[in-house]
């Protein structure tokens, strides 16, 4: 039995199929998003986004072959080095990168442009997996927690410094991975509460109601945990953190976020307040999707996206094309593809006997999930507009390569799961 046979036999072909299905749908919709029937257009035309995306997909097949050919132990062995190189690139891009739309996150090498922050995701996943996979790692040890958060936080901070807060937020989802590996749920719950409170603070004018709500919730929680001092301390600390969030909202809104980000949050809270101004994206995106009806207008028959009513229609707002041209049925199929992919990844991660592979698998699943949730959520007005792509679907080489790397390194690890000795 040759090594190649071994790979093809053990590779999870369902995930590979899902990968190519999503990429194919993405490619067709990228063509539809900017299709102009007044001029003859060919989906393979290299001057169009669809033609370029096809090149990216082709190039990623090469990338997949390289990943498959390389030794699976490489990713474990070189995890920190890869991480270090990417961190270095993130610093370099901060100094020498090209500024695009207010963010300094692109390298420009002749005709090619590269966004290191897209690569930072898989590198962070590897480093995180490597650290957690080390024997003796304990999630409840303070030192281990500090290092874990540092691994996640370092690229996130650098990306915020580049001015790309949207991409940085993705790292928050790694809390879910840590949760799976034993992190106390309190942190997760406090985080979720903080996010909810953050939005509520914007919605509710009088903050006294919020404090009263937190106070009664905390009182109730303490009442049910009368006998456990440790939990009471946790609850009080959590309530204080959440209250702190309320105080910090004004500061965050006015001093940390850029004006366009502030407007996005305002638009999310009330899109009708300025439908032609900062509410435009959300309003038009909902109109495009809503006008698709149950069955859609048909391939290339959409009007809202291709007539530029929806901005960024082939990248961040690509889901509008699905919603408009393929209706609820098309949206359903697209969402199901992603959900099946994510659940499959969780299933694959759980069957790993090697902790490194499991943690990395969860990283991949969670990052896919976060992109999926935030991207579609913003197009239908359930989340504020955060400019992150729909994985494998949105137009863009860096993002497509990033997700390909992320996914296939895990499939490579999965293919070799039986060769790994349990540590």
């Amino acid at each position: 039995m040759t090594r190649a046979d071994n790979i093809s036999g053990n590779l999870d072909w369902l995930t590979v199929l899902l990968f190519f299905l999503i990429a194919l749908l993405g490619w067709l919709n990228i063509f539809a998003a900017v299709y102009d029937d007044t001029t003859y257009q060919n989906i393979f035309d290299l001057s169009l986004n669809s033609g370029k995306q096809l090149i990216f997909i082709g190039a990623s097949v090469l990338l997949i072959i390289i990943i498959m050919v390389m030794d699976f132990r490489f990713y474990d062995t070189f995890a920190y080095i890869i991480y270090g190189v990417i961190i270095f690139l993130l610093i370099v891009v901060l100094l020498f990168g090209r500024e695009v739309a207010g963010s300094r996150s692109w390298f420009e090498l002749g005709p090619f442009r590269l966004q290191p922050s897209e690569l930072a995701k898989f590198a962070t996943g590897l480093a995180l997996a490597k650290y957690i996979g080390t024997s003796g790692f304990r999630m409840d040890k303070v030192m281990d927690q500090v290092v874990t958060f540092a691994i996640i936080g370092l690229p996130a901070v650098l990306i915020v410094l580049q001015g790309d807060a949207g991409t940085a937020i993705v790292y928050a989802v790694l809390l879910l991975v840590l949760f799976r590996e034993g992190l106390s749920p309190v942190l997760l719950i406090v985080g979720a509460f903080s996010a909810i409170i953050f939005v509520l603070t914007l919605l509710v004018e009088n903050h006294v109601y919020l404090y009263m709500g937190i106070l009664s919730a905390a009182t109730l929680a303490i009442f049910f945990n009368k006998k456990r001092i440790k939990r009471i301390v946790f609850i009080i600390a959590g309530a204080l953190v959440v209250s702190g969030v309320i105080r910090s909202v004004d500061y965050v809104i006015n001093d940390v976020l850029k004006p366009h980000q502030q407007n996005r949050i305002k638009a999310f809270i009330n899109p009708d307040s300025d439908p032609l101004g900062f509410g435009w994206n959300v309003t038009q995106s909902k109109i495009a999707i809503g006008s698709g009806g149950p069955w859609g207008k048909g391939f290339l028959k959409g009007t809202q996206t291709k007539f530029d009513f929806v901005p960024e229609q082939s990248t961040d707002f690509i889901f509008c094309t699905i919603g408009e041209e393929h209706g609820w049925i098309g949206s359903f199929i697209t969402i199901m593809l992603f959900v099946v992919l994510i659940l499959r990844l969780i299933f694959l991660a759980e069957r790993q006997k090697w902790r490194f592979a499991r943690v990395y698998g969860y990283t991949v699943a969670c990052i896919f999930f976060f992109h999926f949730a935030i991207n579609i959520g913003m197009t239908i007005g359930l989340f504020p507009v955060i400019g992150i792509p729909l994985p494998l679907f949105s137009y863009g080489g860096s993002s497509f390569f990033g997700f390909t790397l992320l996914l296939f390194i895990f499939l490579k690890l999965d293919a070799h799961r039986t060769q790994v000795l349990v540590h």
């Binding site: 999707i289 009806g293 949206s331 359903f332 969402i335 659940l343 969780i346 359930l382």
Partner: protein, 604 residues
Amino acid sequence: MNESRKYIIQLIVVSVAILFLGKLFSIQVLDGTYAEAASSNVIHSVVEYPYRGLIYDRNGKLLVYNTPQFDLTVTPKEVISLDTLKFCELFEITKDEFKESYQSIRRKKGFSYVRPNVLIKQLSERDLARVQDFLVDFPGFGIQVRTTRAYTSPVMANALGYVSEISARRLSLDTLRYYHQGDYIGQSGIEAYYEEQLRGKRGVKRVLKNVRGIEKGSFENGKYDTLAVPGQNLISTIDIELQKYGEYLLENKSGSIVAIEPSSGEILSIVSGPSYDPNLLTGRNYSENFSRISSDTLKPLFNRPLMAQYRPGSIFKIIQSLVALNEGIINRNTYIPCVMVPMKCHYHGPGETLVGAITNSCNPYFYNVMKRVVNRGASEDPYEDTRIGLIKWHEYVGSFGLGSRLGIDLPNEKSGLVPSTAYYDRAYNNRPWKYSNIYSIAIGEGENLVVPLQMANFAAIVANRGYYYPPHLVKSVGQTGEPLPQYKEKHYTMVAPEHFDIAVEAMAEVVRSGTGQYRAKLRDIEVCGKTGTVQNDPLPDHSVFIAFAPKDNPKIAVSVYVEDAGQGARAAASIASLMIEKYLIGETQRPNIEEFVKRGEFLY
């Protein structure tokens, strides 16, 4: 050890998916407002303006047509580094004018940064030819074409009317909501009366536009588009050569000429003096010209043939004769001595029979004739007797188309006045009145009022020996159509046709040997006419003449009014006979008469 936590993570993933599908179901399937918003986003209705109908004269010569007008437009977004100085030089405007006109379009509603806005309206053809080649140097500037009216000859302004932007008032009256702000509409004359036929039907093209308002093709391949239907052409009854000649004769005079073909009621020419060049109210200087013309003290916009009301004067005596003849009160031999009481008379013999009385315009004769018509002993009470008589008389006179509108196909026709019993009751404040109070109407003075059109129609009635078709200006709606139905209805007077022979004879006598003999007599054609001299104290009298010719089987009936020109036998008789000559022969054989008219010295 924490393996069960995978369920929580899976649960989060599945709940988010369910949340999304639920939200999508609500906006895509349950809520229809998004689909509406989407179509109003992209589907725009573009109005296609129809071609306005053309107007021809009775011989097929074009009178009114459409001509392209060129507007200079600017699309601010496309303007790149404008060389203002060069631009201003090219368009022969100052820098301030340029700035001002740009500022004024910016303030206008509907100004767009990305679509063309009209900067300079209606470039002249000279300007267009000059600037066209240079426009490429000014990106963002372009020429937009639309059509306006143009006239082959500078005549007939009041009858043709003009077309201009619809007024706010007119727009508010448009209950069918056909018109939109900025639409053009016929404002007077034929343009207004036949607006519905001329305007055609607007079409609507539904086009898709992108977010910047740029056209991206038709909606559903034009399935819902409607084509613009061009307006119908009109063939007018006007003989343009006769019209031009009439305007030539009436130059520098106030008054009117109306010529009618008696057998059909078709108006051959309708001249109002003073007039204006209709081309002044089409071009770029419309508003400037309009305010100048409308404030002119000579009132060129006042359409005299329809709107100027005069006393009928002596011409009315023919009607009195006809009424009395029909009632059997007089016959052609009735002799009445001219006693100069109660009214004076022009100098003639000691008395007249009917034809002589008409020819010599004997006032006391007709005082007596009307007295006999009105006071016939129907009642012992002289007041009641007059009342009964006047009702009958009023009915008779009304049947000649007097005292009410004839219904010409032009707006703003005046009805004139034939006094009724109700009128005198009002005038005398319900105190009793009798013939001695009202007798001045017997000779066409007093309260009687007519418009020139009614007098021309009266000449046509006599020419026809007792009937008329309502005078009209359009003989065919559409290239081979018919006039409007009301113009095909024959109207008889209450006077039996056989009595008209005496009136015809008297009118022939007027021209043969009476007041019309010097200037209205033609060598080869027997003209029948009647002079009128309408008192206009303290200014000179108005000169009036009605005529028809030839005497047998008449082809043309004319009324001429020349204001402040003295005796009817001079200005009006000359013009009327020249019109007849022009129409029947093609040119005048009496240059001295034409010269007399052009010289314009009628008071001596």
